[in-house]
Every structure is written in structure tokens, then in C-alpha cells.
Symmetry: C2
Subunit: 255 residues, 2 copies
């Protein structure tokens, strides 16, 4: 299976390196900036390109790792140069398959459900790969590739993927915001930086072993209005955190 990677950013780089390591032949790496294409292509023995018109017709799979709002446009451009037999898959959690399906019959999805950092190697065996495809044959082809780099391959349709993307915002973006809130508050009180780390670790352990609502504690679930009022008083200099506090407290009280 010969693979061309469109996009040399965070996801494109990680996938190119991981697939190369797994023994796949990376034909070409595309980036609008030739220097970026070159830097990644060198690492995976591929040819760098910065024009979609020179994409190789030998590409059996084109992985589209470009920004969400560019996926449709790039797919349409590629459809002029790719042979009908090629697979065209995007790597986004946020973009529905229809954006590809409009441009290409043999569309697919190849979405790594993880926060990746450019230049920091990731252990793909532990990263869930969410796969979809136009036909069972396309799905199977992509599942096979995914299975070579990850132990966690899931067939996930558009609606499920949209839910995952939203749930990931709660798990990643919003949890990180909770960490920042705590970081700001403890910093202002001149408390040691890591004093809440053991509590965080216990929180994650408890909340992933069983349904989180079953281990919910604190003033919100106890409806301890006195403590809630005191906390809101402490947040008087942080109006945004005060709003967050109230919103999550109301949510917890629905448990």
C-alpha cells in the first residue's frame, strides 16, 4: 500500500512517521510550504511536493491531514489527478464524511483520537483510531492499516465522530481549563505548584473506574449552599470563574 500524505502539520507528521515505521511506503508529502514538505519527506523517504497537480497516480491512499475548512477544497482539487482506484481519507474529528463524499467515491476517515504535539513522539499503539469509509471494502482497507499502528481501531460513523469530537472538548479542553483555574487560584495564594496533583490523580482514577456521577463529591452534590456561597465570594475577582463555578454546580445537581 503506497501512501501520500497531504499536510505536513501536527497530524500529518505523526501519521507519516508512524506509517513509515510500520513499513508502509510513503510516496509523497505535500505542504503548501515546500520547506515543511521537504523536512518531513526526508524523514520518511518520500518526495516533497507543494502542488496538488503533481500528486502521484501511484498513491493508493491519500491521507488528508489539512485544516478542517480546507478538506473539501483540497479533495476537489485532488480528484482531477488521482486515479479512480485510490482511497482519499481525511484525519479530522470535526468534518463530516459528506465533505469528502461530494468529491470522491472512495472516501474514508482515519481519525486519531489524541492530542498530538509536533515534534513529540506519540505511542500510536495506545491511540484510538476512528475509521469510516464509503463501502465495507474501503472500511476494511483502512481498518487493516489502522490495525498495523494501533491496538484500538474503531469503526465510527459521522454522528458518533461528531459526538466524540464534542466529548473530547469536555475531556481535553475543559479539563485543562479546570487545571488552569486551580493553577491560577493556588498561584495567587502562594501555594506549592504541585500540591493538588495527588488529588487530581485520585480524581481520574476514581472517575474512570466507574460512572463518574457515582463518585461525585463536594458542595454541589451535597447542595451545601453555605459553602457554595463562600466559594463564589472567593471568586469575586474572577467573574469568568464564578460563572463556570455556577454552571458546573447546576450541572452536578442534575446527577
Amino acid at each position: 500500500m503506497k501512501i501520500t500524505i497531504i499536510g505536513a502539520g501536527n497530524v500529518g507528521s505523526h501519521l507519516a512517521l508512524t506509517l513509515h515505521q510500520a513499513g508502509y511506503s510513503i510516496l509523497q508529502v505535500y505542504s503548501r510550504q515546500l520547506s515543511k514538505a521537504r523536512s518531513l519527506a526526508e524523514q520518511v523517504g518520500a518526495a516533497p511536493i507543494h502542488q496538488l497537480s503533481v500528486v502521484s497516480p501511484e498513491s493508493e491512499l491519500c491521507l488528508l491531514a489539512v485544516k478542517d475548512d480546507a478538506i473539501g477544497l483540497v479533495a476537489h482539487s485532488l480528484s482531477d489527478f488521482l486515479p479512480q482506484t485510490s482511497l482519499l481519507a481525511h484525519t479530522s474529528g470535526a468534518t463530516p464524511s459528506t465533505v469528502l463524499a461530494n468529491a470522491w467515491p472512495r472516501w474514508g476517515i482515519f481519525y486519531p483520537l489524541q492530542t498530538l504535539t509536533m515534534g513529540q513522539p506519540a505511542d500510536f499503539t495506545q491511540i484510538p483510531l476512528c475509521i469510516d469509509g464509503a463501502t465495507p471494502a474501503v472500511q476494511q482497507a483502512l481498518q487493516e492499516i489502522a490495525g498495523k499502528i494501533s491496538h484500538q481501531v474503531h469503526l465510527v460513523n459521522d454522528e458518533q465522530r461528531a459526538t466524540l469530537h464534542l466529548a473530547a472538548v469536555f475531556i481535553n479542553n475543559f479539563t485543562n481549563a479546570m487545571l488552569q483555574a486551580s493553577h491560577t487560584l493556588t498561584g495567587e495564594a502562594h501555594l506549592p505548584r504541585d500540591i493538588l496533583k495527588p488529588l487530581l490523580q485520585a480524581t481520574i482514577q476514581k472517575g474512570t473506574r466507574q460512572e463518574p456521577r457515582k463518585v461525585q463529591t463536594g458542595p454541589a452534590i451535597r447542595r451545601d449552599q453555605q459553602t457554595i456561597e463562600r466559594h463564589l465570594g472567593q471568586l469575586s475577582n474572577h467573574p469568568e470563574l464564578s460563572t463556570v463555578y455556577k454552571a458546573i454546580t447546576s450541572y452536578i445537581q442534575t446527577f
Copy 2:
């Protein structure tokens, strides 16, 4: 140092067992329910009591592990029976020292900053113990005891402890609420239970290695209004989550 434990609930039990294991002599265990006092007292070689009037005058330290709103009352009752030399310390993150100081000159605070579960042994060496006391001598006495059971002993004043209690709500209660949100959403979409666990683990790793705001990602920080609107649309059946989403999004946009 002879210790009496007032309260045989979650915190009282953990402290009695841990201090006993560390070689301290637990004289008495008090609970309003004699059966609860007995059950814990048996495990630590102490005498069970269910009346404060029979607290032993040999108690050099009385640890008050009772509900927040009972601390003041119990302290006042005990002051009739304890000798002037005894230390009286409460174990709460939420109650200011003044509540004790009004009842007893040699007051102290002995606050384990962790979520404890009744019947589940906890490794106290990794639990931060927040100490305070009426005088440097009281502080030192409590720090010495704390140092025998934990590697993380911190002198923390009332204002700092109030901040810790609030920050712990963000780290524990609110993070757990984020886990529940994700659990609910993925459950409704019939997605595998653990599919977001690798993302959660990476989130915690990244967000504790450096200042969380520096690793913030997602539609909020990108001000990607189109994705935010789509997510809010997906939450139309979950009005409380929609409010949470908006509040945290606004907070993140202050980073």
C-alpha cells in the same frame, strides 16, 4: 504522643488507621453511634466512646474529624473535659481556625488534601497534609506527626486553606463533572466506554507538566465560532451542559 480520634467517618477512620500503623497510640475513638466507634476502635487498639464527657484527660492530641458544622460545637463541649495542655486539631479544608480558636487556645489544623473512600486503604505518604496551629510550638508538634505519615507536609494558613478547598473543587468535583459529561455523551452515541481514556491521560500529563493555559487547544482558544455553534447544537437536549460549555469557553478565551 497519645491521640484520641473524634469521629469514625471517612477521614477519622483513615487517620486512626494510618497513625496507628505509624506507631502512635490511639487512646479512644468517639462516634455518636457506639457501633461505629467500636468497629474502628477495635482495629487500632483504642477504647470506643460515644459521649464526649468521657474523653480521656490523657489525650495529648484530639483530632476532630466531624462534619464542618459540628466542629465548633464539639470543640466547645470538649473544652470542659480536656486538660489545658492538650492539642485540639480539626481535619477540615473548609472550616477556618477561628471556629476552634474560640473554644481552645492550643488549636491546630490537620487537613489531608485528598479524596478518601471509606474502606479503601490510602497511601498517606503521597497525601499532602496541610498543617496550622495556634503557636509555632503547636505547629511544630503537628508537623512532626504529619511528617511520620506523609512526605508532603505544608504549613498552610486559613486563607490559603480556603483557596485550596476552592481549587480542590475545580480539580476534583468539576473535573469529575467533565468526565460525567463525556460519559453521558459517548454513552448516548453507543461508543466504547474507554475510547477517550488515552486522551484524558495525555491531557493530565500535558496540563501538569507546564502551565495549563500554555497547552490549551480546541475551538474556544482558536475562537472557532463555527465549531462552537455546532457543538452547542449537539447539546440542544442537554441545556445544563450547554451552559457549562458556554461558561468554560468564555473562561478559556480570557487565557
